[in-house]
Each structure stands twice: as structure tokens, then as C-alpha cells.
Symmetry: C2
Subunit: 170 residues, 2 copies
């Protein structure tokens, strides 16, 4: 690996795109792109008392209305204390509604209110606009590759969470 060639790039296959240099470029692309990815919603949120964590909560509640706190916890990968701080402010501010479960009364099912949906729209419109431009500039084949690589990069649990969400969409 000291020669800058990945240890996987041995046998005569066409694996030259696995040189350390190529990998490093992928890493840096990921870093810079993620900054762009979050930039627009962050700008909107900075004017309010909310941050990226609120955005994520609102996004996934909108995505899966009625989801439980525990489910959201697993998707977001944070502690319940961390999520609770965010949910509390969202509920206080009337953006999220928490309903006690019918089958299991310990569970809280989360829904966006009208105001919550409005914020979600505003944030995801901004984020989608950038994604749309990137997708349009890159073309369908590049987009397919993009998704393939990202999926391969996820942790296993996150990949299945992602697949579940993906399949439930439309």
C-alpha cells in the first residue's frame, strides 16, 4: 500500500480505480459535496431557533407519519436524550404532534402538523433544488452510479433502514 496502490488491486482485473489516489478523491468529493448538500437547509434554519437535527427529525416524520420515537431513534442513530431535546421543541412549537399509541399505549406516534409540513416543504424544496440540478447536470447513468456507491458505503443496519424507506415510497 506504500506504493499508493490498493491491496485489492492485485490480480489482473481492471481495478485501477481503487488506487489510494482514486479513493482519496472519492473521500474528498464526499466531504465537499456533503457541505453543499446541507448548505441550503442550514441557511434557512439559521434564521430560526432550529438546526440540522430538527431538519432530520422533521424529514423522517414526514417520510413515515406515525412513526414511533424508538423507530426514529434507530433511523437517526442518536440517543433518546438527544432526540428528545429536538422533539420537545418541535412539539412545543406546534410543528409535531405526539399521539399515544392505540395498540401499545407506551408508544408515541409522531405526526407533522400543518405548520410542520410547511417547514418540511420549505427545507426539502431547497435541498431538492440542489439535488435536481446535480442530477440533471450529471445525467441518469451517473445518478444510478451515485446511488449504487452510496448504498454500498452505508453500514448494514442503515442500508436496510434505507431500503425499507425506499420501498415504502410510492
Amino acid at each position: 500500500m506504500a506504493d499508493g496502490r490498493s491491496s485489492s488491486a492485485q490480480s489482473g482485473e481492471n481495478l485501477l480505480f481503487l488506487t489510494d489516489e482514486q479513493l482519496r478523491q472519492g473521500i474528498e468529493a464526499m466531504f465537499f459535496a456533503y457541505r453543499g448538500f446541507t448548505a441550503d437547509p442550514d441557511r434557512i434554519l439559521s434564521d430560526m431557533a432550529y438546526g440540522r437535527a430538527h431538519h432530520r427529525a422533521v424529514h423522517f416524520i414526514n417520510r413515515a407519519p406515525g412513526t414511533t420515537v424508538n423507530n426514529l431513534l434507530n433511523i437517526l442513530g442518536v440517543t433518546k436524550q438527544s432526540l428528545n431535546r429536538v422533539l420537545r421543541t418541535l412539539i412545543e412549537d406546534g410543528l409535531v404532534e405526539s399521539r399515544i399509541g392505540k395498540a401499545d399505549k407506551r408508544e408515541r406516534h409522531l405526526f407533522l402538523t400543518e405548520a410542520g409540513r410547511a417547514l418540511e416543504q420549505k427545507l426539502s424544496d431547497a435541498q431538492r433544488a440542489r439535488m435536481r440540478m446535480a442530477f440533471r447536470d450529471a445525467g441518469p447513468e451517473a445518478v444510478a452510479g451515485f446511488r449504487t456507491v452510496l448504498e454500498a458505503m452505508m453500514d448494514r443496519e442503515m442500508r436496510s433502514a434505507y431500503s425499507r424507506l425506499k420501498d415504502s415510497g410510492t
Copy 2:
């Protein structure tokens, strides 16, 4: 847009991959993948008194040895106070060396020490291992698409910073 079809997907072109549903999947893929992307270095760093910010600083100093503080500031996109806190600990701990510029003595040129290079190796080995697996699983064409989309997603300034780094590599 209320019909779930992107406003860009009007004229008869093949732009169905720009539906809001497709864009949302891209957004979620980005979110979950970035978690995987940072997971391994984060795990290593959590045992030390360092975090993701230290990783980023060490990465880019290694990438462009002798870079100035101001240059690093622009690449990382944080305030000098924030970067300075990180750099100070790295210098105190003997991972980074700060040399006063010869041409312009106001500038500080940053270099990794032997220990700094060791940490950088450890962190980037972990990150590259995941990237390598993802690239290998996805294949060269997917990787090309991945890079194309990420580049299109960057802010303009970040895109040029990325290109400069990319071109300087090998």
C-alpha cells in the same frame, strides 16, 4: 410539484429520474452514506481527545503540506477561531508543526510530524477501506457516476477547491 413530479421534468425528455421521489431517495442515500463514511474514523478518534475536526485538519495538511492557515480555513469552511482551537491541540501534542513563512513571515505553514503522519495513516486507512469496498462492489462505471454527481452537488468555491486538490494529486 404537488403531483410529485419535478418542475424540471416537463418537456418530453427522459427526465423521470428527477421526480421528487427519486430526489428524496438521493437525499436519504446521502444522509445514510455519510454516516457510514465518517463512522470508522470517528470510532478511532473517540478513544482520543480528538474529533472529526482534527481528522479533517490532519487530512488536508497531509494532502497539501506547507499549506497556510488561511488556505486551510478556506478549504474547511470554518472560522479561524474554530480551526485555531483544533490546530493548537494538534501542535501541542506534536502532531502538527507550524513554520513561519519565509517569503511572508505572517503566514504559518503547516506540516505533519512523524506522529501526525501516523495518525493520518491510521484514520485514512480506515476510511479508505470502506471506500474501497464500496467502489469494488459498485464497479468503475458507478464510481464515475458517483464522482460526477458529487461534483455537481458542491458549491462553486468548493468545486474549485476540490479540482485544485484533485489536479495536484500525482
